[in-house]
Symmetry: C2
Subunit: 397 residues, 2 copies
């Protein structure tokens, strides 16, 4: 039977093969600390579940394609607290940040168009792009620079007549980078000068541990070309709700993308009812979560950096660290950790970072760590990782 | 700012303009019976809500991209009762039938490919297709024939080198047609002879009021090329759950489309927990619902057919009727019903059927009626519709 070349160009999740190594390790009685995925362990605010349990409906009807009005209002209010003033019509509810990104690509790109993305980047950007014939043009950033952006000239040199947008997550997944005000200004200038959209994936926006955060929502000069992708997944540890949103002051964009929202009818009604309550979560929740993540980051980073040859600047956002290791193949190192290493019957599973790069050959010596375990476990995991790395280096020198 | 030509080719929901007429009617104090949408009024089984309310989780995590194992098993069991034997791996959970269709198109079609679809058809087929550069080639069916398929020759004449699939809903939305065993056999033969996929949208499969139903899942000869699209939306009146599925014995297809499922991470966890219970609903629920719809259909059909010039065979499935009216413009008729007609302060809103046709000019004199009101209301609505139509014809002859 015939398959499309576009589906063939979408890569399968690369973590699967490694997960079979982890399964094998577990079978042998090892405990595996998983640092490979972005699934937080933080409690979801109870009001989410309560609101859904209390929602008495006889008939579970389609919601409006735009999203529940109460939820759009709650998000409008959320942004207002950051001094970002959206109309209700500037906000649409999507099935997670994923659908928001996917529909955005379809709305602004034809097949053969391209989008600039600082690499390493969230690998599903590439899956969505390939699925709809859009090319991602990577702007390479380096562990040595803490994954901050290269010069304006270097970025501009990547733009061609088919470039439609700059897309990035800020704070960054997988890097944990938080772009400076100057970087955001530079991106805005480039977008204006070259008539590009800016797709700002700000799903980690509360997870900033030092310094200032600059949202694209606050940059007035480009408000007609900014598309903010957001989600409750990380903010409220509600990944399984699959509630995301798009926010843009470009009314034509919102009108065009609404047609796709209408085609898929609606986002689950009950999850939206719950999400309204998430946005009412007191700030203290986020403050505590933030403090927790900051401490975890320090635990993990401080352990990691002790190994000679590891290149890693302390990230200031999200809940990830990407580190360059003095190894030939991070993939081989991860497999070795799962198959051949343990301390008291325990080992660690990092995520090889190669899948976050588009440029061939980059990231092969890097790993991404998600600090999504409680401090006690994370401290153990960090120690195991450090000692494992040291042992691996000794074996392979 | 730049938009893709593909998004420009997606049409906005055409019902919106008419809804403003309905709003206006309501403002003037009229009661409007809505027969224009496929949102059933039947009670959703309570166990759906109970299961969700009882699901105690601290952290609402991502579900597996494939779907909850319990739900895939429940669906496997559901099919087994119809003598369709799927492996668990043959079943994937999607965000409604909508996502199932959308991802299927991406998986089997490149830009420029086409899919044969009997028209009139569910208009969002066209939205999905346009969004990803796929052309729908209509196979026109007629009210006079109860919207049954034309000859094999006529269908085959539409196939060209870029044709990848035959897609149809059975029972049909908007027509209510249930294809005969012979028609299913013919489609299967065509697919085999011309190496096409068969995308069988069987979301209305329980809603069959007379005669036999033939599922593509039971046609052994084409099991490697059949993709069944399904959903809990209509079956269990749970449209707002947005739980759909794909089922196919073509393992390569399932492997390819899984990559898109992985890219969008997962379907909402709680809705899947609820959906597991839906599949445990006793058969008596569906039998009662079925009987209810059958009676409603009769009420509506018997009223409608009394108006001279109306062409409509009694549909045997789904909960829709498409009728050809002796009018120039069904759109004008619907607007007139909302603006200028009433009986005791009440009127009716049908859906003009033009949007269900791809061929220019077809369907302009047809309406679709969804019998989604209780019998008492529906009887009133049917009477108002009949009298309205008679009055409109008198005015416009």
């Amino acid at each position: 039977m015939n398959f499309s070349s576009r589906i063939k160009s979408v890569e399968a999740s690369t973590i699967m093969e490694l997960l079979t190594y982890a399964e094998e390790a577990k079978k042998q009685g090892k405990k595996v600390y998983y640092l490979n995925i972005g699934q937080p362990d933080i409690k979801t605010p109870e009001n989410f579940f309560k609101a859904i349990a209390n929602d008495k409906e006889n008939v579970l009807e389609y919601a409006l394609s735009e999203g529940l009005p109460e939820l759009r209002k709650a998000i409008q209010k959320y942004y207002k607290e950051y001094d970002i003033n959206f109309d209700i019509e500037d906000i649409l509810i999507l099935n997670g940040g994923s659908e928001a990104l996917f529909f955005t690509m379809l709305t602004i790109c034809n097949e053969g168009d391209n989008i600039l993305v600082p690499e390493p980047f969230y690998s599903n950007y590439n899956s969505f792009a390939n699925a709809v014939g859009v090319q991602i043009k990577p702007i390479t950033t380096l562990a040595e620079n803490g994954f901050h952006l290269p010069s304006k000239e270097e970025i501009v040199s990547k733009i061609d007549k088919n470039t439609r947008a700059i897309l990035f997550s800020n704070p960054g997944n997988p890097t944990g980078v938080v772009y400076t005000k100057e970087e955001i200004k530079m991106i805005s200038e480039i977008a204006k000068e070259h008539d590009l959209w800016i797709i700002a994936d700000e799903v980690y926006r509360e997870f900033v541990y030092e310094g200032e955060y600059t949202s694209l929502g606050n940059v007035k000069e480009v408000e007609d070309r900014v598309i903010i992708v957001d989600s409750v997944s990380k903010r409220y540890s509600a990944c399984g709700a699959r509630i995301g949103c798009l926010a843009s002051k470009n009314k034509e964009f919102m009108g065009e993308i609404l047609k796709l929202c209408q085609a898929r009818l609606s986002v689950p009604t009950l999850e939206q009812v719950g999400a309204v309550e998430l946005y009412k979560t007191p700030n203290s929740y986020l403050e505590e979560v933030n403090e927790e993540y900051r401490e975890r980051r320090d635990v993990l980073y401080n352990e990691l950096i002790q190994v000679p040859g590891v290149i890693c600047k302390k990230p200031t956002g999200a809940f990830y660290i990407v580190a360059k290791l003095p190894v030939k193949s991070a993939d081989d190192f991860v497999k070795w950790m799962l198959s051949d290493f343990e301390i008291d019957g325990e080992t660690v599973m990092p995520c090889p970072a190669e899948g976050f790069y588009k440029t061939e050959g980059l990231g092969v010596d890097e790993i991404r760590l998600a600090y999504i375990l409680n401090k006690e476990d994370l401290a153990k995991a960090a120690k195991i990782l450090k000692e494992g790395l040291e042992a691996y280096l000794k074996l392979n020198k």
